[in-house]
Symmetry: C2
Subunit: 411 residues, 2 copies
């Protein structure tokens, strides 16, 4: 039996924690706000805001700065912002052909960022873990802020909780305890959260990209495989174990091609990078450059290139129609390859969606390209790694002092 | 910008309301509980429980009864239960070939229930509204409890909020302001909530059927069309406008048959009642009796009947695989026709699911027949109609006294 638990004995502490979280999350999501804006947004009294801001400022989490005059009359309200060194996370994105590592602040700003090409034969878990640990270690030396977590985006089917990779066909991984191994290699005494890159891209576009303010959103992103993620009622659709959102493996064509996952006619066999390149007569490993070649050829009128893009557009519409019927999203955000080719296939996709989806949900949905570009999953990885501090800044403020040896070394 | 709103000025009232709701919802979901069980389940103190139960008892919402000895030592704790006449709703289910109306109590018990066959030519909105109003009026006379809402399940694409039917292909309705018309005809001064029958079936199985305790659940139910509903993280997947969960219109076979919705090869064209009856050589309107005939023939070894069931089983697996990959449910509940035929096609469905779904989410999902039978959507309709009282019993207790004329008439 599940009953809502509201423990009366702790209520004022619970309310204080919730209010601190609302403030920090608001500043994280929206950027600097005046006290008046905080009052308007939270419904808290001016006195309460003053107390909470004071508490956060004393802990070094927020700063108050002189306001910039905005041409409005009256005395300007000072602006509250997240302090640059309040807390940071290390965000990692592991793709088939590249590896990105960044330091991201509690304010959401990417402070340091490095993306390197990855040899496609670097597939052993040991090599990958070692590569990430090396880059992360170098990144750590560039910040003085407390590191509160590590978030990792991986193109694979990832179990929530322990970052176990059930399957990453494009890396050739099956049942790899990746989260545990990476945590051991990093040896940082902070949580290491591993999640699917499509799920994290969806979260990033929802919080900081094309989907800000949209609570029901579908994110589609094709690289070597087709990934994506779903936000429903403002929350990621994880499912029972965190495997949800594997939209690339929607069966759309029972007479189609075998998929890397072992099934037949998955959506990614018709709309993935591999399908587009093969139809255009390019080698399967031509990657992003190959996509650009197809777009250039199509613009020049090459009928094979045009037909290959149309094929992807038609099948994109079929899968999107199924997802629109199931999920009734307000917005479809196309990232990566699909965002790149969308301007060219727009009419095909829109017409196909109208033909295949139910009229009522179809009429309400808009399709837009992603705005965060290739970094969306990296930004999403930072968001999940920051989540413990965003949900409970009071807990973070009350954390035990760092180990004296480490504290001595870093000062 | 969205910030969590926690208004300090109202906090003790907010906590009281939340605790009253937790108590009433717990008793609604679980049935009678002792005070000790309420203490254990809510984390509230014994004193707090005593106060809250007293308040609810004084308002006539709960009763305390002498406990039944259960063979455990010690003084038995009195049992708290929802009072039978605390509040009721009228639940309605409108299907293509039948209409059901029931009175359902705040305790979830169905007090009065009537299901009548509906002439398949009774399709005009006026006729349907009039039929429902007549049955509801008769039901009202059978209860003395306050009626707090009306919930209606309809096999169609329904807009949340106003019960506008965007499309109900099997009723022949397009863009019908059904919620408004029914509310006018009922003239009862209580909210009338209209929702999709599959969504309500899913909610019912989640709260009171095979899915109790399961937070990620997919419900599939075939009648003339194939409907269903999705529960994610304990909440119905509504989507932006409430159109979510139209799983019958997942495109699974691009080379398939035209669907009633206007698209080609929707899941329901392969796994619906119509497909099974046609493959078995029975008339398309043979309905439930036809399904029973197919099952009987298959049991007797008729190869056409066996093949038609196998066909449905194979395609059922394809669509379920897509839904498992997207939603990662813990449980698939098969209602109506699919629950009925599942024992016969189990091996085909299980094997097909293994062939088409990703191994990780597939390994975690179980398939079970629904336990609430044909009444699941009706029970779900009662649940949504009761929701305002379950979420805020304090608001219900503080409601204005009924109109004196009505109060006089009913006493």
């Amino acid at each position: 039996m599940r009953l809502g638990r509201v423990d009366i004995g702790q209520r004022s502490e619970t309310v204080r924690r919730a209010n601190l979280s609302a403030l920090v999350r608001g500043l994280h999501d929206s950027g600097p706000l005046s006290r008046s804006e905080l009052v308007a947004a939270t419904g808290l009294t001016r006195t309460a805001i003053r107390g909470l801001v004071g508490e956060l400022a004393a802990a070094g989490i927020v700063q108050e700065a002189a306001a910039v005059r905005r041409g409005t009359p009256g005395r300007p309200s000072p602006v509250v912002r997240i302090a640059p060194d309040a807390a940071v996370v290390i965000a990692v994105e592991l793709l088939v052909d590249s590896l990105a590592v960044a330091i991201v602040g509690l304010d959401g700003a990417i402070d340091h960022h490095e993306r390197v090409d990855r040899p496609r034969d670097e597939r052993s878990v040991e090599d990958v873990v070692e590569h990430i640990a090396r880059m992360a270690s170098e990144m750590r030396s560039r910040t003085k802020a407390p590191i509160v977590g590590v978030g990792v985006a991986v193109a694979g089917v990832i179990r929530r909780g322990d970052g176990h990779v059930a399957m990453a066909p494009n890396l050739g991984w099956v049942d790899v305890p990746f989260g545990d191994r990476l945590a051991r290699a990093l040896d940082m005494d902070v949580p290491v959260v591993v999640a699917n890159d499509g799920d994290l891209g969806a979260l990033a576009e929802h919080r900081r990209g094309s989907g800000v303010g949209v609570d029901d959103l579908l994110y589609v992103s094709g690289e070597v495989g087709v990934g994506g993620g779903v936000i429903i009622a403002g929350r990621p659709l994880d499912g029972f174990a965190g495997y949800g959102g594997e939209i690339g493996h929607l069966p759309v064509n029972p007479g189609g091609a075998p998929c890397r996952c072992g099934a037949i006619g998955c959506w990614e066999t018709e709309v993935g990078e591999g399908a587009l390149l093969a139809l255009a007569g390019l080698p399967p490993d031509a990657g992003r450059d190959g996509i650009e070649t197809v777009l250039r050829e199509a613009a020049a009128g090459n009928p094979v290139a045009v037909a290959s893009l149309e094929h992807v557009g038609r099948w994109l519409a079929v899968g999107l129609a199924g997802l629109v019927n199931i999920l009734n999203p307000q917005l479809i955000v196309l990232g990566s390859m699909h965002g790149r080719i969308y301007p060219v296939i727009r009419n095909t996709v829109e017409a196909g969606l109208s033909a295949h989806a139910l009229p009522a949900p179809r009429a309400l949905v808009r399709i837009v390209p992603a705005t965060l570009g290739a970094d969306a999953p990296l930004i999403g990885a930072a968001e999940v790694a920051l989540e413990p501090v965003l949900s409970d800044p009071a807990g973070f403020m009350a954390r035990p002092a760092p180990d004296k040896r480490l504290a001595g070394a870093s000062r």
